[in-house]
Amino acid sequence: MQPEGNSTPRFEYSNLVRDLGPGLTLLARQWCDVPEDVVQDAFLKLFRQTPFPENPRAWMFKVVRRDALNAARSQSRRKKHEQISRDERTNWFCDSIDESLDGELATRALMSQPVPIREILVLRLWNELSFDEIAELAGISPRTASRRYQSGLQAVRSQLNIKLEEFTRG
Protein backbone atom coordinates (compact mmCIF):
# COMPACT_ATOMS: atom_id res chain seq x y z
CA MET A 1 0.00 0.00 0.00
CA GLN A 2 1.58 3.23 -1.14
CA PRO A 3 -0.02 6.29 0.35
CA GLU A 4 -0.40 9.24 -1.97
CA GLY A 5 0.22 12.45 -0.09
CA ASN A 6 -2.25 12.77 2.74
CA SER A 7 -4.95 10.82 0.97
CA THR A 8 -3.78 7.74 2.85
CA PRO A 9 -6.19 4.83 2.98
CA ARG A 10 -8.36 5.05 6.04
CA PHE A 11 -6.92 2.01 7.78
CA GLU A 12 -3.30 3.02 7.27
CA TYR A 13 -2.86 5.21 10.32
CA SER A 14 -4.48 2.85 12.77
CA ASN A 15 -2.50 -0.08 11.43
CA LEU A 16 0.74 1.84 11.72
CA VAL A 17 0.04 2.88 15.29
CA ARG A 18 -1.07 -0.57 16.34
CA ASP A 19 1.80 -2.39 14.64
CA LEU A 20 4.68 -0.06 15.27
CA GLY A 21 3.70 1.71 18.51
CA PRO A 22 4.88 -0.79 21.13
CA GLY A 23 8.16 -1.66 19.39
CA LEU A 24 8.98 1.98 18.75
CA THR A 25 8.21 2.84 22.36
CA LEU A 26 10.59 0.15 23.54
CA LEU A 27 13.22 1.43 21.15
CA ALA A 28 12.87 5.02 22.40
CA ARG A 29 12.97 3.75 25.98
CA GLN A 30 16.57 2.63 25.44
CA TRP A 31 17.69 6.25 25.39
CA CYS A 32 15.20 8.53 27.04
CA ASP A 33 12.73 8.56 29.88
CA VAL A 34 9.89 9.97 27.80
CA PRO A 35 9.49 7.29 25.12
CA GLU A 36 5.71 7.69 24.80
CA ASP A 37 6.07 11.40 24.07
CA VAL A 38 8.76 10.76 21.49
CA VAL A 39 6.70 8.13 19.69
CA GLN A 40 3.52 10.21 19.79
CA ASP A 41 5.31 13.21 18.38
CA ALA A 42 6.85 11.04 15.68
CA PHE A 43 3.41 9.75 14.67
CA LEU A 44 2.04 13.28 14.57
CA LYS A 45 4.95 14.34 12.39
CA LEU A 46 4.24 11.40 10.10
CA PHE A 47 0.56 12.31 9.80
CA ARG A 48 1.52 15.83 8.75
CA GLN A 49 4.08 14.76 6.17
CA THR A 50 3.36 16.05 2.71
CA PRO A 51 3.94 14.04 0.63
CA PHE A 52 3.53 10.95 2.75
CA PRO A 53 6.82 8.99 3.05
CA GLU A 54 7.35 6.15 0.65
CA ASN A 55 8.24 3.84 3.49
CA PRO A 56 6.49 5.12 6.64
CA ARG A 57 7.88 2.27 8.73
CA ALA A 58 11.50 3.14 7.98
CA TRP A 59 10.70 6.84 8.33
CA MET A 60 9.24 6.26 11.81
CA PHE A 61 12.28 4.30 13.00
CA LYS A 62 14.59 7.07 11.87
CA VAL A 63 12.56 9.82 13.48
CA VAL A 64 11.98 7.98 16.75
CA ARG A 65 15.65 7.07 17.05
CA ARG A 66 16.78 10.63 16.33
CA ASP A 67 14.22 12.24 18.65
CA ALA A 68 14.91 9.78 21.46
CA LEU A 69 18.64 10.52 21.21
CA ASN A 70 17.91 14.25 21.24
CA ALA A 71 15.69 13.85 24.28
CA ALA A 72 18.44 11.93 26.03
CA ARG A 73 20.98 14.70 25.50
CA SER A 74 19.71 16.52 28.52
CA GLN A 75 22.27 15.26 31.00
CA SER A 76 20.31 15.93 34.15
CA ARG A 77 17.29 14.18 32.75
CA ARG A 78 19.37 11.19 31.80
CA LYS A 79 20.96 11.01 35.21
CA LYS A 80 17.56 11.19 36.81
CA HIS A 81 16.33 8.43 34.51
CA GLU A 82 19.25 6.20 35.37
CA GLN A 83 18.77 6.86 39.06
CA ILE A 84 15.12 5.91 38.82
CA SER A 85 15.98 2.85 36.76
CA ARG A 86 18.41 1.67 39.39
CA ASP A 87 16.11 2.26 42.30
CA GLU A 88 12.73 1.17 41.04
CA ARG A 89 11.36 -2.06 39.71
CA THR A 90 10.97 -1.50 36.02
CA ASN A 91 9.03 -3.48 33.50
CA TRP A 92 9.13 -2.45 29.87
CA PHE A 93 6.63 -5.12 28.92
CA CYS A 94 2.93 -5.67 29.36
CA ASP A 95 1.88 -7.96 32.17
CA SER A 96 0.59 -11.26 30.93
CA ILE A 97 0.14 -14.62 32.59
CA ASP A 98 0.75 -16.43 29.31
CA GLU A 99 4.37 -15.36 28.96
CA SER A 100 7.05 -17.91 29.77
CA LEU A 101 9.40 -15.14 30.77
CA ASP A 102 8.89 -12.51 33.44
CA GLY A 103 8.86 -8.98 32.03
CA GLU A 104 10.81 -7.52 34.93
CA LEU A 105 13.53 -10.14 34.61
CA ALA A 106 13.80 -9.49 30.88
CA THR A 107 13.89 -5.75 31.49
CA ARG A 108 16.72 -6.07 33.98
CA ALA A 109 18.62 -8.38 31.66
CA LEU A 110 18.27 -5.91 28.83
CA MET A 111 19.22 -2.96 31.01
CA SER A 112 22.46 -4.70 31.94
CA GLN A 113 23.56 -4.51 28.30
CA PRO A 114 25.26 -1.52 26.69
CA VAL A 115 22.97 0.71 24.66
CA PRO A 116 24.38 -0.20 21.19
CA ILE A 117 23.70 -3.88 21.87
CA ARG A 118 20.32 -3.20 23.44
CA GLU A 119 19.27 -1.15 20.46
CA ILE A 120 19.96 -4.01 18.08
CA LEU A 121 18.19 -6.54 20.28
CA VAL A 122 15.13 -4.32 20.45
CA LEU A 123 15.12 -3.61 16.73
CA ARG A 124 15.50 -7.27 15.89
CA LEU A 125 13.33 -8.97 18.50
CA TRP A 126 10.44 -6.59 18.94
CA ASN A 127 10.45 -4.60 15.72
CA GLU A 128 11.38 -7.41 13.34
CA LEU A 129 13.88 -5.42 11.35
CA SER A 130 16.31 -7.25 9.12
CA PHE A 131 20.03 -6.89 9.75
CA ASP A 132 20.28 -4.76 6.64
CA GLU A 133 17.63 -2.39 7.97
CA ILE A 134 19.26 -2.31 11.39
CA ALA A 135 22.62 -1.61 9.79
CA GLU A 136 21.24 1.28 7.80
CA LEU A 137 19.47 2.75 10.78
CA ALA A 138 22.35 2.41 13.22
CA GLY A 139 25.03 3.36 10.70
CA ILE A 140 26.92 0.10 10.99
CA SER A 141 27.56 -2.82 8.70
CA PRO A 142 25.09 -5.72 8.60
CA ARG A 143 27.80 -8.06 9.82
CA THR A 144 28.44 -5.88 12.86
CA ALA A 145 24.73 -5.74 13.51
CA SER A 146 24.51 -9.53 13.38
CA ARG A 147 27.54 -9.99 15.62
CA ARG A 148 26.22 -7.56 18.18
CA TYR A 149 22.87 -9.24 18.15
CA GLN A 150 24.36 -12.67 18.78
CA SER A 151 26.58 -11.47 21.58
CA GLY A 152 23.73 -9.50 23.12
CA LEU A 153 21.41 -12.46 23.05
CA GLN A 154 24.10 -14.62 24.66
CA ALA A 155 24.58 -12.09 27.43
CA VAL A 156 20.87 -11.76 28.04
CA ARG A 157 20.54 -15.52 28.24
CA SER A 158 23.27 -15.63 30.86
CA GLN A 159 21.60 -12.84 32.78
CA LEU A 160 18.28 -14.59 32.66
CA ASN A 161 19.81 -17.85 33.86
CA ILE A 162 21.33 -16.09 36.84
CA LYS A 163 18.11 -14.29 37.59
CA LEU A 164 16.05 -17.44 37.22
CA GLU A 165 18.37 -19.36 39.54
CA GLU A 166 18.12 -16.58 42.12
CA PHE A 167 14.37 -16.55 41.65
CA THR A 168 13.95 -20.31 42.12
CA ARG A 169 16.32 -20.36 45.08
CA GLY A 170 14.72 -17.45 46.85
Binding site: G21, T25, L26, T50, S96, S100, L125, S141, R143, Q150
Partner: protein, 212 residues
Protein backbone atom coordinates in the same frame (compact mmCIF):
# COMPACT_ATOMS: atom_id res chain seq x y z
CA UNK B 1 26.61 -8.26 2.02
CA UNK B 2 23.18 -9.44 3.02
CA UNK B 3 22.65 -11.36 6.19
CA UNK B 4 20.05 -14.11 5.83
CA UNK B 5 16.82 -13.07 7.41
CA UNK B 6 15.21 -14.29 9.54
CA UNK B 7 18.05 -16.19 11.10
CA UNK B 8 17.22 -19.06 13.39
CA UNK B 9 18.28 -18.48 16.93
CA UNK B 10 21.21 -20.77 17.69
CA UNK B 11 21.09 -20.08 21.37
CA UNK B 12 18.71 -22.21 23.26
CA UNK B 13 18.17 -22.36 26.91
CA UNK B 14 16.50 -24.72 29.27
CA UNK B 15 13.81 -22.73 30.93
CA UNK B 16 10.67 -23.43 32.89
CA UNK B 17 9.89 -27.00 33.82
CA UNK B 18 12.27 -28.87 31.54
CA UNK B 19 11.01 -27.70 28.16
CA UNK B 20 13.43 -26.52 25.50
CA UNK B 21 12.58 -22.97 24.86
CA UNK B 22 14.41 -20.60 22.70
CA UNK B 23 15.52 -17.45 24.49
CA UNK B 24 14.77 -15.56 21.37
CA UNK B 25 11.22 -16.83 21.21
CA UNK B 26 10.71 -16.22 24.88
CA UNK B 27 11.86 -12.67 24.55
CA UNK B 28 9.75 -12.17 21.43
CA UNK B 29 6.70 -13.37 23.28
CA UNK B 30 6.93 -10.41 25.60
CA UNK B 31 4.77 -7.52 24.47
CA UNK B 32 6.37 -4.11 24.90
CA UNK B 33 4.28 -1.40 26.50
CA UNK B 34 2.95 0.91 23.84
CA UNK B 35 1.69 4.45 23.68
CA UNK B 36 -1.62 5.77 24.85
CA UNK B 37 -3.55 5.57 21.60
CA UNK B 38 -6.48 7.58 23.00
CA UNK B 39 -4.14 10.46 23.68
CA UNK B 40 -2.65 10.15 20.22
CA UNK B 41 -6.12 10.15 18.70
CA UNK B 42 -6.95 13.31 20.60
CA UNK B 43 -3.72 15.05 19.69
CA UNK B 44 -3.97 14.09 16.05
CA UNK B 45 -7.52 15.36 15.86
CA UNK B 46 -9.00 12.03 14.86
CA UNK B 47 -12.62 11.22 15.50
CA UNK B 48 -13.79 8.48 17.80
CA UNK B 49 -14.12 6.13 14.85
CA UNK B 50 -10.36 5.79 14.81
CA UNK B 51 -10.48 3.57 17.85
CA UNK B 52 -12.79 1.19 16.07
CA UNK B 53 -10.50 0.91 13.08
CA UNK B 54 -12.06 3.68 11.03
CA UNK B 55 -9.45 6.35 10.98
CA UNK B 56 -10.32 9.75 9.63
CA UNK B 57 -7.37 10.78 7.53
CA UNK B 58 -6.01 14.22 8.17
CA UNK B 59 -6.05 16.33 5.03
CA UNK B 60 -3.49 19.03 4.37
CA UNK B 61 -5.84 21.83 5.40
CA UNK B 62 -6.26 20.41 8.89
CA UNK B 63 -2.58 20.35 9.68
CA UNK B 64 -2.78 23.70 11.40
CA UNK B 65 -5.75 22.54 13.43
CA UNK B 66 -3.79 19.58 14.71
CA UNK B 67 -1.05 21.84 15.96
CA UNK B 68 -3.46 24.27 17.56
CA UNK B 69 -5.36 21.48 19.21
CA UNK B 70 -2.31 19.81 20.67
CA UNK B 71 -0.96 23.12 21.89
CA UNK B 72 -4.26 24.17 23.38
CA UNK B 73 -4.47 20.92 25.24
CA UNK B 74 -1.04 21.43 26.73
CA UNK B 75 -1.85 24.96 27.73
CA UNK B 76 -5.45 24.54 28.79
CA UNK B 77 -4.77 24.14 32.52
CA UNK B 78 -2.32 26.98 32.92
CA UNK B 79 -4.13 29.37 30.62
CA UNK B 80 -7.37 28.92 32.53
CA UNK B 81 -5.68 29.96 35.76
CA UNK B 82 -3.92 32.92 34.16
CA UNK B 83 -7.12 33.96 32.40
CA UNK B 84 -9.04 33.87 35.66
CA UNK B 85 -6.45 35.99 37.41
CA UNK B 86 -6.37 38.54 34.59
CA UNK B 87 -10.16 38.68 34.60
CA UNK B 88 -10.30 39.26 38.33
CA UNK B 89 -7.68 42.01 38.09
CA UNK B 90 -9.55 43.68 35.25
CA UNK B 91 -12.81 43.58 37.19
CA UNK B 92 -11.11 45.11 40.25
CA UNK B 93 -9.59 47.83 38.10
CA UNK B 94 -12.96 48.69 36.56
CA UNK B 95 -14.56 48.92 39.98
CA UNK B 96 -11.70 51.05 41.23
CA UNK B 97 -11.89 53.43 38.29
CA UNK B 98 -15.63 53.77 38.50
CA UNK B 99 -15.62 54.88 42.11
CA UNK B 100 -12.27 56.58 42.42
CA UNK B 101 -12.38 59.99 44.10
CA UNK B 102 -10.15 62.78 42.95
CA UNK B 103 -9.56 66.28 44.31
CA UNK B 104 -10.53 69.19 42.14
CA UNK B 105 -8.88 72.59 42.04
CA UNK B 106 -10.64 73.87 45.14
CA UNK B 107 -9.22 71.07 47.21
CA UNK B 108 -12.59 69.50 47.81
CA UNK B 109 -13.17 65.92 47.16
CA UNK B 110 -15.02 65.48 43.97
CA UNK B 111 -17.08 62.39 43.70
CA UNK B 112 -16.55 60.84 40.37
CA UNK B 113 -19.86 59.08 40.36
CA UNK B 114 -22.63 61.18 38.86
CA UNK B 115 -25.32 59.91 41.13
CA UNK B 116 -24.04 61.64 44.25
CA UNK B 117 -25.80 64.88 44.94
CA UNK B 118 -23.78 67.94 46.05
CA UNK B 119 -25.34 67.79 49.53
CA UNK B 120 -23.60 64.55 50.17
CA UNK B 121 -26.69 62.39 49.99
CA UNK B 122 -26.93 59.56 47.62
CA UNK B 123 -29.49 60.47 45.09
CA UNK B 124 -31.23 58.58 42.41
CA UNK B 125 -31.50 61.72 40.38
CA UNK B 126 -28.49 62.62 38.27
CA UNK B 127 -26.28 65.39 39.58
CA UNK B 128 -25.22 68.47 37.68
CA UNK B 129 -22.23 66.97 35.95
CA UNK B 130 -23.92 63.70 35.33
CA UNK B 131 -23.93 62.14 31.90
CA UNK B 132 -26.96 62.03 29.71
CA UNK B 133 -30.01 60.20 31.07
CA UNK B 134 -29.70 57.61 28.38
CA UNK B 135 -26.20 56.79 29.56
CA UNK B 136 -27.26 56.82 33.17
CA UNK B 137 -29.87 54.19 32.63
CA UNK B 138 -27.24 51.75 31.48
CA UNK B 139 -25.45 51.82 34.81
CA UNK B 140 -26.44 49.24 37.37
CA UNK B 141 -28.35 50.53 40.36
CA UNK B 142 -26.20 48.55 42.76
CA UNK B 143 -23.24 50.82 42.07
CA UNK B 144 -25.07 53.84 43.39
CA UNK B 145 -25.61 52.43 46.84
CA UNK B 146 -21.91 51.77 47.26
CA UNK B 147 -20.77 55.28 46.56
CA UNK B 148 -19.17 57.32 49.32
CA UNK B 149 -21.46 60.14 50.38
CA UNK B 150 -19.44 61.67 53.18
CA UNK B 151 -17.38 64.55 51.77
CA UNK B 152 -15.06 64.52 54.83
CA UNK B 153 -14.29 60.92 54.46
CA UNK B 154 -11.06 60.47 52.51
CA UNK B 155 -10.87 56.73 52.55
CA UNK B 156 -10.60 55.22 49.18
CA UNK B 157 -13.96 53.84 48.23
CA UNK B 158 -13.75 50.39 46.81
CA UNK B 159 -17.33 49.61 46.27
CA UNK B 160 -18.08 48.70 49.82
CA UNK B 161 -15.31 46.14 50.06
CA UNK B 162 -12.53 48.16 51.64
CA UNK B 163 -14.30 51.49 52.05
CA UNK B 164 -16.78 50.33 54.60
CA UNK B 165 -15.90 53.12 57.05
CA UNK B 166 -17.46 55.66 54.77
CA UNK B 167 -20.75 53.84 54.95
CA UNK B 168 -21.04 54.38 58.67
CA UNK B 169 -22.31 57.56 60.24
CA UNK B 170 -20.14 59.07 62.91
CA UNK B 171 -21.42 58.67 66.48
CA UNK B 172 -21.63 62.47 66.96
CA UNK B 173 -24.08 62.69 64.14
CA UNK B 174 -26.42 60.20 65.69
CA UNK B 175 -28.81 61.50 68.38
CA UNK B 176 -28.58 59.77 71.70
CA UNK B 177 -31.16 57.12 71.95
CA UNK B 178 -32.43 55.10 74.84
CA UNK B 179 -34.69 52.14 75.02
CA UNK B 180 -37.77 52.25 77.22
CA UNK B 181 -38.80 49.42 79.50
CA UNK B 182 -41.66 48.72 77.19
CA UNK B 183 -39.21 47.94 74.42
CA UNK B 184 -39.87 51.08 72.48
CA UNK B 185 -37.19 53.48 71.47
CA UNK B 186 -37.26 57.16 72.33
CA UNK B 187 -34.84 59.99 72.22
CA UNK B 188 -32.89 60.88 75.39
CA UNK B 189 -32.82 64.51 74.49
CA UNK B 190 -35.40 66.98 75.77
CA UNK B 191 -38.17 67.32 73.29
CA UNK B 192 -38.30 70.54 71.36
CA UNK B 193 -40.76 73.15 72.73
CA UNK B 194 -44.23 72.75 71.40
CA UNK B 195 -45.59 75.51 69.36
CA UNK B 196 -48.40 76.41 71.82
CA UNK B 197 -49.77 79.88 72.38
CA UNK B 198 -49.27 81.67 75.71
CA UNK B 199 -52.94 81.76 76.78
CA UNK B 200 -53.29 78.11 76.09
CA UNK B 201 -50.17 77.31 78.06
CA UNK B 202 -51.48 79.27 81.04
CA UNK B 203 -54.80 77.49 80.85
CA UNK B 204 -53.01 74.15 80.72
CA UNK B 205 -50.88 75.10 83.72
CA UNK B 206 -53.93 76.03 85.72
CA UNK B 207 -55.57 72.76 84.85
CA UNK B 208 -52.52 70.85 86.10
CA UNK B 209 -52.37 72.82 89.38
CA UNK B 210 -56.04 72.20 89.94
CA UNK B 211 -55.79 68.49 89.41
CA UNK B 212 -52.83 68.14 91.78
Amino acid sequence: MTIPDPSPDPIENKMGDGGQTSVENSLRSLKPKGIDSDQLVYRAGFQDGFRHGQATPIDSSSGHCVEVQSRSRRLSGGSAVVGGMVGALAASLVMLMSTYNSRDDTGEIRIADPWVAPDGETSILPSVDSPSPAESQTKPAAVRSLVVTDPVDQTLPLGGVLGTRSLYRSPEDDPLRSVSVNGGERSAETPPPANVSLPLRRALLREVERSS
